[in-house]
Amino acid sequence: MSSLAADRSHTIRRWRRRLTRGLIYLALLVTTVVMLYPFWYMADNAFRSLEQYQLQSGFSLASWRELFNTLPVGRQLVNSTILVTGSIALILVASTTAGYALGVLRYRFSSLVFLLVISSMMVPMQSIIIPEYVNLAQLGFVNHFYGAILVYAALGAPFSTFLMTAYFRRLPEDVIEAALMDGLGFGRIFLQIMLPLAVPAIVTIVVLQFIQIWDDLLVGLLFLQTPDVRPITVGLATIPSQHLLNVPVLMAGSLVSAAPAIIVYLIFQRYLIAGLTTGVGK
């Protein structure tokens, strides 16, 4: 082969590689537009009055004023925060202690208990929601934060316990043995050694549950029925129907209810990804 022909085939190959690369970028950019457009749409229309929306020109805060007159936005953001904090606290207490007991101490029956935890992960919320509602209504728990917190905690605890158990099992055993040699009891080992070691798993649970509970509709809809105790996502979903056609107000509401979860996501992405891929194993 002459050097000229080799040169030419080399150039062709280089151009082909550039072309593929360009096409890949194009595909990824199109996907980016598809994934981001809804966010752009929200931000673009939330800052218009109804008239400005119809004309698609001009910006104002009119719709935000209307949103705050329609929904107790501040109150509902506080409600969401109370619910998320309370539920996560309960989930953490339950899942770290249970994970320690199941993964490290291994009492009698612990494999049976672990099986129970795993099988309760498979119970879909909608299958139990009717008796759950009736039970808690009979106890007078409906429309109180603690009722909804109990339900969220029960729904979040099985997966979190599974995650904690798996995490504790992976810790090297000599850590515990060394601590036992030092004369520490199992309680102190848990508080002083295991919990600090488990921080990454704990953060993963917090982030997963924050997003899950903040974004939930069904539990809040049923167990918190008056606007004063509703979390923001539920408040938005049940916005009085005369506002359903007011796009800018809806978009302002969407923006304000989505923002906290998005911020948490942007800060703790890594942990969220870790949590989602736990199930596949490594």
């Binding site: 809804p38 309760s120 929601i129 039970n135 979903a237």
Partner: protein, 271 residues
Amino acid sequence: MLALIGGLLLYPIGQTFYYSFTTWDGITSQWIGPSTYTTLFRSPEFVRVLENNAMIVLAIPVAILIPLAVALLINSHLHGWRLFRSVYFLPTAVSWVVIGFVAVRFFANDGILQNLLNSIGLGFLHPDMLAHERSALLAVMITFVWSMFGTNLIIFLAGLATIDQDIYDAAKMDGAGALSVIFRITIPLLKRFIQFTFVITLITAFTALFSLIFVMTGGGPGFGTTTLEFFIYQNGFAQSYFGLGATAGVVLFVIVFAISMVQLRLLRTDD
């Protein structure tokens, strides 16, 4: 811990089974027996509901193949792939309620889709998707695929990260082309990740679309977008047919339980 799970998950599922054989309005219940199930399965609405769920299941291959393809593109280590990953994963943090409100604006008669069609001269089509039973279900399915994209993408990227670079190098030495590497090496190695996305997408399809349907269509028009989980909510809470809701709850439980069993089976055979 056990009290929490026992009292709030396991006890109610037992109640669901018991009340599924009764008529129940939340206060008094009357034992009917297994005929509640035959009544349920004979009602045309319920058949329609199962049909809707089956249709949504048809969207699952799409919800898996698109993120798989994009994961393969991202994995070719382009500049800025982390940025693409963050952007694509963002919707995972957003409530289905919010996604639903924007989706309504997209599919509505005067919405974004109609504007797009107008601008390319196809405005006369007037799909008005949310107004017709079949197309409303299609709109829900499209939104569902959009929302699952990030989650499934992340799982595939995690899977691709487990594949040793040496395997690719060896294949390249043997003169394998890019496509044959993907089909002969990458995809077989991703098998368990594909199974995993399949299972979680399936479970999501059966148990997590409530908020989306609540906001987008309210189950309508007619029973056009009523799925099993939405049917339970409607019967239990909009109409106080708690017994009927419980019967449907058992059906949902059995389906989800069967899917989970398959998943456990798959995980075990791989170990």
